[in-house]
Each structure stands twice: as C-alpha cells, then as structure tokens.
Amino acid sequence: MSAMIINARTSNNHGMVAGTSVISHAVNVNTNYLSQAPQPGSRPEAPMVELKGVCKRFGSLQVLKNISLSVDKGEVVSIIGPSGSGKSTLLRCVNYLEKPDSGTVSIAGNPVPEDESALNSARARVGMVFQHFNLFPHMTALENIMEGPVQVKRIPKSEAKEIALSLLSKVGLSDKAGAYPRQLSGGQKQRVAIARALAMQPDVMLFDKATSALDPELIGEVLQVMRDLAAEGMTMLVVTHEIGFAREVSDRIVVLAGGQIAEEGRPEDILSAPLNQRTREFLAKILPPTRV
C-alpha cells in the first residue's frame, strides 16, 4: 500500500517537473494499482453514482430528458457530446447544484437528500472540478485546499494543513503552497482545484471540461493528474472534449445529444464504430478527419 502511494507521488512529481518521465512512471502506478485494487469487472454492491429517469428543464427548454446512468466504484466514465447537449447540467445534477425536476440521483446507494443540511454533507462527498477552476482568489493555494476540511469537516487546522501539503505534492505543486491563484498558470490553478476537491476525500470526482480553458501546452499536466487519479481507483465522471484522453482512460464513454444518452459503451466501440448518427456527426466535428 505504502509502496503504491510513494510511487504515485514520485510519478506525480516527476510528471510535473519533467514531462518526459511521465509515461514510464504512470505505467508503474498502473501495475502497482492493479495488484491490489478490485479486479476489473467485479461489481460492488451499489453503483457509486446512479441516475434514474432524471429530467431537467430551464423554462421551456428541456435540457435533460429521462437520463439513466450508473457508474460503478472505481469506474471512469467520460461524457462527450455537442455543446448545449446538457453535459454540464447532468454533472451538476449529480451533486445537486441543479435539482432535477424528476428522477432520482443516488450516491453510493443513498438517494441525494432533500433536506438542506443533509444535502450539504452529501455534496461534500462529491468532488467537482470546473472549466474555469473557480479557485478562491483571496486565498493561497494551501488555504484553498484547507478551506473545505477546516470549514466543512471541522478538521483541526494543523491536520488540514498536512493533508493540503500532501495533496499539493501529489499534484506536483509543493512549491506553490503560498501562491495566490492569480500567480499560477492555468494548469497549476486546475491542479490546485483538483487538490481542493480531493481534500474532502470524495467518493466521486466530477470534471466539467477541466482542460478546455487551458493553453494547449498546459493540458498535459492536468490530464496526467487525472490519469493518476483514475489509476488509484477514483470513481470519475469526466465531461471532456479530449477524445484521446477519453479513449485511453475511461472504462466507458457516454454520448449525450439533445439531452438524451445517444449511445454508451466501451471507448473503442464508441469511437471507432459509433452506431448512432448523432455520435458520428459529433465525432466527425471534433476528430481530425484521418482518425474518423
């Protein structure tokens, strides 16, 4: 266990410092992980995330139409689809930032509660990473990460600081503990944002186009952190336009079109032999012609 953690940490640090060593280390993490994680295909009792018949409308616009989706513990599911198809709304329904009009959302078998304070603690168990980072600008990187544990979980500051420091090192930013968000690059901000979400020890991590606001050369470092998380067995729901990442990392791809699940399945099936017309149209738009 400890070997794996140390390994994962070094991998991260190297990954951030020198991009070239990323791959070999990432492979290391993977093998170590496989030796003691639940076997692929083994089904734990309840799905980690389960949506049943979720509908959501904004005024006259029906954004989500009867969405049912289940994500197992440790599974990585990528959600792709055209802009406006409801991907963000779907993610936001998972932690009730948006309340579905009908249908149910359950986390680890527990329906998301209606009661306000129970809802807050339910949200604390679902980490969310946003396209525009949404770091708290008046706090340092370290304070951003400590905020949840200290204010929500009421963990003593010294303990929260240790957690935050180890998370910073996990995302390769130990040297940025005292930096304010405005002093960080986009990639660094997003890595702090991921660490901030992880500090709550969530059961699930939601990523909403986490790399789409980044300069191309900064995307890799964030994807690497996400890859490592996936390898550690984190349950992840990832809205992304990074098809390569979706192909490589996800166990399943869900194609959302017009508020409905157009298609879902293994990445290789969806991406190389899409059955659905809307999937094909969407992939044709975002993939280089040679790869479609």
Binding site: L97, R123, A124, G127, N134, F136, H138, G148, Q151, M200
Partner: protein
Amino acid sequence: MKESMVSAAVFIQNILPTLLRASGVTVKLTAFSIILGIAIGTAVALMRISRSKVLSGVATAYVTVLRGTPLMVQILIVYFALPQIGLRMDKFSSAVIALGINASAYIAEIIRAAIESIDPGQMEAARSLGMSYGLAMRRIIIPQTYRRLLPPLGNEFIALLKDTSLIAFIGGEELTRAGQHIISATFRPWPVYITVAAIYLCMTALFSFVVQFGERKLLQ
C-alpha cells in the same frame, strides 16, 4: 482693506476652537450613522438577494421608500413624529437613527451590487465543497467584495458626513449649527460660513485619502 483682512483672521482664530469642537460632534454623528448604516445595509442586502420572495420584497420596499423620499423629511419624521407615537429620543440618537437608516438603503444597494458582481462559479465551488449558503457567503463571497465595496462606500460615507449638516435643522449642535450660533451673535456670515465649509472640506479630503490608502492596501 488690509485692516479688515487682519480682523477677519483674528475673528476666525477666535471662533475656530468652537467650530472644531462642533466638528467633533459631526464626526461622531457620521461614525455612528455609518456603523448603523452598514449593519442594517448588510442585512437588507442579504435579504434582497435571498431566494425568499417575502424577504427580498420587504428589502426592495425598504430601499425604494428610503431612497425615494428626502432625507430632510426622514429626519423630521424621526425627530418630531416618532415621539408622538411614544418613541422619544435625544437629538443625537434621533439624528443617528435618521442618518443611519437613510444611509443603510444606499449601502444595501452597494453591497448587493458587489455581491452580484462576484463570479457565480465561486458560490458553486463553495457549495460543491459542502458549504452551506451562509458559510459560503461568509467565507468565500463577502470577503471578495471588500475591494469592490471600498470606493462606493467611501463616496457614501463622504455624502453622509456632509448630510449631517441637515441635523442643524432639528437643533443638533454639530458644525453647521455651531456656525449659525456664531453668526447670530456676530452678524458676520462670510468668515463663519467659509470657515465651516473649509472644515467640511478638510474632513472629506482626509477621508478620501484614507479610503484611497485602504484601497491600495487591499489591492496588494
């Protein structure tokens, strides 16, 4: 000519201590009214942006009435009309209440605008960590408004400081009233009012300077 200027200078020197003492009352009035204004203004701002229709409706009505009627009338109501329904206060308290409540309407709008100018993503990020609405407001949203609040609040405080002169009309012994007393005894309105105006100017200039200094501090 030269003689009259010398005599004016001597005259001003003589009345200055009285006027400065009265300025103390003006400053005190301003300070207490600001505190009251911020306390009520913050509450009203939070009511206005709350999801409760009743709370935001009450807050909107409050702001509309106070901004839509003259401050002078509000002062007269507090000082002359309230005692008739059993709310008797000394002049200073009525002045602070009238000025503070009036300022609270403007301050509420300033605070509301500042809160609404914060990226909604901040609230979402806070909520996604499991924070309650109140905690997110207190820890994440409100602290980010300070820098944006300072310039408009500074203007509001300067306006409030000048508005304290209206208290002269209910006999409050502040700077303007002190000047009027001197004039009725000496019949020399020119040097008195010029001195009074100069003292107001010094106070507002000093205050602007403090606000700008604070702004620069907060910008760092």
